[in-house]
Symmetry: C2
Subunit: 403 residues, 2 copies
């Protein structure tokens, strides 16, 4: 990592950004449900979208806005409580209308507004509520408004996710900030999670896009709560240059580090606040034939119900880790494989060390758990993913979400 | 289907088979834990094994026995309570010893015994208990012993799984029977499930193998409880010819039907008795680009925590079905897709029919649920899978399995 220090302020920590979060009545039970994030001057924009083939209307509209605007964006408008997904032509009209209402309220270019939604699928937006929300959010915009915006994009999240950092570069100091939401329907390839990242560095859209994709691959795309991938996922990044620091191609690594410094705590925050989660689990894979195979094995373990329930119950059940690694599709050599829970090696060279199980059980009482599997191929492939345990509370939340 | 009728008797319904199930002390909490299935004359044998790269010792040994014996087998010995997986060289010696003890007790060829184990991974077998068990099971063998054998292979199964049928063929009447176990760690590609199928038709091993594989693909490989795949899965088939009916290549379809008539109710029984399950869910996919893509989408839905929890809660949340179909990797055309819960169409042509949600919610109060998704490609690909709902009880069972 470069010279990067954590600062407060979230998505409005970088200069030249304002935000707001208001309650306009989209959520049936009340609460903040509409957020605006605004750059005082048009910013370079980049985005990563869901890989789901059933894409929601705001994804379709934001993709188009990015193309039409040439990656120059002034604002992001987001609602929670309604995903505006599977809503047909009306849904598309509503998403477009959200960008138009926002551009009118802010007096910015109509193409310079991105839109995102999260919440229940298949329900139409209450556009009267949305219109009220955009008006009052525009009136409430403030340089300290990041915290309200972070709250207004939440659905089942138990807490808001904000992060920001200050980066020293050869050209001077700049900042990066962000907010994210997501609790269930989270999996490695963009799931119902939204992330909004800002920086006051000046970066061309193409460079920002490449750096955002790399930062997302190692952070938001390396988490899973339940293996699901939603219709609405997106991460947007805005770079407005308000710091007067310009990042060029030669600063690519620094830019990735800057974005990662924000995306990583946001991603881990999503997992820590996963539906029903009581523990954060870091899954490390080493000894894989390649990094791709390592990621495949890490993903299988991070999504395994048997692993997640065992850790929930504090059971050092290394056998389940072996079984899942073995079925992951990645090369796996049982006789040379190893399993560690924390620093306790419970299985190696084809044999268990159950005399150490009590140490591992003690370790599993903690809230931050690391499990490591050596796939035993002798290769140097490795990967790291984050997930959470699976509790009865997850089932309760998801069996009762709508009814 | 051919002229096939259901009969009682399970794995010993076909002539010339005897079985037994005894308690020998492998299971810590007591109960039947060792089963023998014996053919009075050497039978043609076929097997399908786990695709897990971490294979348990009994799988290694049974594969070798099939090769050495040329597919001529007299007996299957099975224990529950201990998987004999990840147990190193001792585990291999123990599995070999189980076949030797059985061949001695039955006075049959040493290579003519297959072995299977199920239970906790990474724990060594108590061979003194196993030896006692094989002796008392051999003494208890009976033509009506299928029911005890079905009980003796259970682990977390809430009930034993038996099936048998009688098939009319041009050459006369023959029978097929079987038992199976499995409750958790079940997924489409062989999971901790064991299945043992017998027939008194005479079938060459190679033909039996092909027919078994086809029957398993549409039954045991079309179920999932939790997307897991164990180290120990196997399905064995024995054909002993005691009915004097000989099935040749030209009878292949009939043989597949006969095996399927037994494997299908056993497979569905596994799902119905899935850990914590309260509902059997049949997932039907139509309108896919191919059968392979249909199966892929069916598997994604059948393993989706959000779908399984929604159905558990009686929530007609068709949006989750759309979202999972969209992320399954199979071709999916949202504007032409459709979702039906029972006979209630809740989504079609890109738009919801939420006015019918109450009908679907009423239907979801039942215990046998059918959900159908048309992927909207216009193709003729289709597939069917069976799964169960996900309850808090599943979490409880798996968080507390060992500790």
């Amino acid at each position: 990592m470069s010279d990067i220090r954590i600062v407060s302020g979230g998505v409005t920590a970088p200069r030249g950004f304002r935000a707001a979060g208001v309650a306009c009545g989209i959520k049936a039970r009340g609460g903040l449900d509409l957020a605006l994030i605004v750059s005082d001057q048009p910013a370079s924009a980049a985005a990563v979208f869901t890989t789901n083939k059933a894409v929601a209307a705001p994804v379709v509209v934001s993709r188009r806005q990015l193309a039409v605007s040439g990656g120059r964006v002034s604002a992001i408008v987001v609602n929670s409580g309604c995903a505006n997904a599977c809503t047909g032509p009306d849904g598309l009209a509503h998403a477009r209308s959200m960008t138009q209402l926002t551009s009118t309220a802010l007096a910015c270019q109509p193409s310079g507004v991105l839109v995102a939604s999260t919440g229940v699928i298949g329900v139409k937006l209450d556009m009267a509520a949305v219109e009220r929300g955009i008006e009052s959010a525009a009136a409430a915009l403030a340089p300290g408004g990041g915290a309200d915006a972070a709250k207004a994009i939440m659905t089942t999240d138990p807490f808001p996710k904000e992060a920001a950092s200050e980066i020293q570069s050869a050209g001077g100091t700049f900042r990066a900030g962000g907010i994210a939401k997501g609790s269930g329907m989270i999996e490695p390839r963009m799931a119902t999670m939204l992330g909004f990242v800002t920086t006051d560095a000046a970066v061309e859209p193409a460079l920002l896009q490449r750096a955002l994709k790399e930062a997302v691959d190692g952070t938001f795309n390396a988490i899973t709560v339940d293996g699901e991938c939603s219709t609405n996922d997106c991460v947007f990044a805005l770079a407005n240059g308000a710091s007067s620091v310009r990042l060029e191609e030669s600063d690519y690594a620094l830019l990735v580090d800057a974005l990662t410094s924000v995306c990583r705590p946001l991603a881990i925050g999503i997992v820590r606040g996963g539906e029903g989660a009581t523990k954060l689990i870091t899954v490390k894979i080493v000894g894989a034939a390649s990094d791709v195979e390592a990621r495949q094995a890490a993903r299988a373990i991070a999504n395994s119900l048997l692993v997640k329930t065992a850790i929930h119950g504090g059971d050092p059940n290394w056998g389940r880790l072996v079984a899942v690694a073995g079925r992951s599709g990645s090369e796996f050599v049982l006789d040379r494989a190893a399993v560690r829970i924390g620093s306790v090696e419970l299985f190696s060279a084809g044999a268990p060390h159950d005399e150490r199980a009590a140490d591992a059980a003690e370790y599993l009482k903690g809230r931050d758990i690391v499990v490591e599997v050596d796939l035993g191929t002798g290769g140097g492939g490795h990967s790291e993913m984050w997930t959470c345990d699976l509790s009865a509370e997850y089932v309760r939340i998801n069996a009762e979400y709508r009814t």
